[in-house]
Amino acid sequence: MTKPGTTTNDGPVLGWLAGGLLLAGVLLVAVAAAKPLGVSTQYVSAVAGACELSSPGACEEVPYFRESKVGFGYGEMVVLGIPIGALLAALVTRRFRKRDVPEPWAARFGPSRALRFAGAAAGGFLVLFGSRLAGGCTSGHILSGVSQLAVSSILFFLGAFGVGMIAARAIYSRREVNS
């Protein structure tokens, strides 16, 4: 099913309208059946799990783990479902393909895989640190929170997209390669 060469010059399978409505559909089902969507809290559960594995018993007292109510329950299963659902969708639509360096990054920083991996790790580090500081991420704050008209989420959205837009412009602007 990995078939490079075939011009999967991939636009997304779903158009933006269908994608947006389906995303809202998932959110509404979640809100009706359980609670709003969220992902970044489960990174805390994963870290707590790793902590528990490496030094059993020493982690229960960590204040932030308590604050975050870490464990393995509904929210963790949602987050576990994400990569499984994504994998199934990619296989069914024949879009599963090994990819290392996204286009805008390659256009700006070259094809080095190691550099991209380092950049992605640094970016992911900031994304989760910021999410935990703010109390949520794109799912919890922007999708779920703004949909509930929460002030905290609107502030997060303004900070995230304000800085994100400035940073993306600063980072990727040189050597423009039109895609």
Binding site: G11, G15, W16, G19, G20, L22, V26, L27, L28, V31, A32, A33, A34, V39, S40, Y43, V62, G73, M77, L80, G81, I82, P83, G85, A86, L87, R95, R99, V101, P102, A120, G123, G124, F125, L126, V127, L128, F129, G130, S131, R132, L133, G135, C137, T138, H141, L143, G145, V146, S147, Q148, S152, G159, A160, F161, G162, V163, M165, Y172, S179
Partner: protein
Amino acid sequence: MNPLLLGLLIGLPFGAVLVLSGLADPKLIIGMLRLKDLRLLKLLVTAIGAGIVGIALLDSAGLANTSIKTTHVIANLAGGAIFGLGFAISGYCPGTALAGAAEGRRDALFAVLGGLLGTALFTALFGFLGPALIEPLSLGKITIPSILGVPALLVALPAGAAAAFAVYKWKTAAETSGPVPAETRRPEDSPVEVLH
């Protein structure tokens, strides 16, 4: 329903939509942040517009399990800013990194690993950051309607109408930004049927 099974049943379509809609593609995320490719911006306006109206309607019917996050002005803004910088660098957010990794994007795996380290650092610094950045300027679980002292639908319906109007405009205007994939043409059934 068993909460674990319910979680899985919600996570599976969530992950599928993240991949199929292009949200897990850093090229489209970065294109959105640079305002060069507005597809995902339109998608988010659609999703949030429909979400605002849908949640308000569910809530007024007593069917919504809402959960408002406490407003911590400094932490929300500063956390958002740090998030935004990382978002621009990586092109991923916590959920889309997991989805992207599952469709073969190996850089997304590194974003997840970096994210776990960032979470660990925050955990270690929480004792300091809590009093310094989170607790000051905490305003409680406030929403726009609660500040205005009006029913949620009074804010949600106009917001949804604005989103629906934008969606309508985008759909009727000739698509100019990039090659448009096979759009699943729907009639203009905006999420809000309650337009003025």
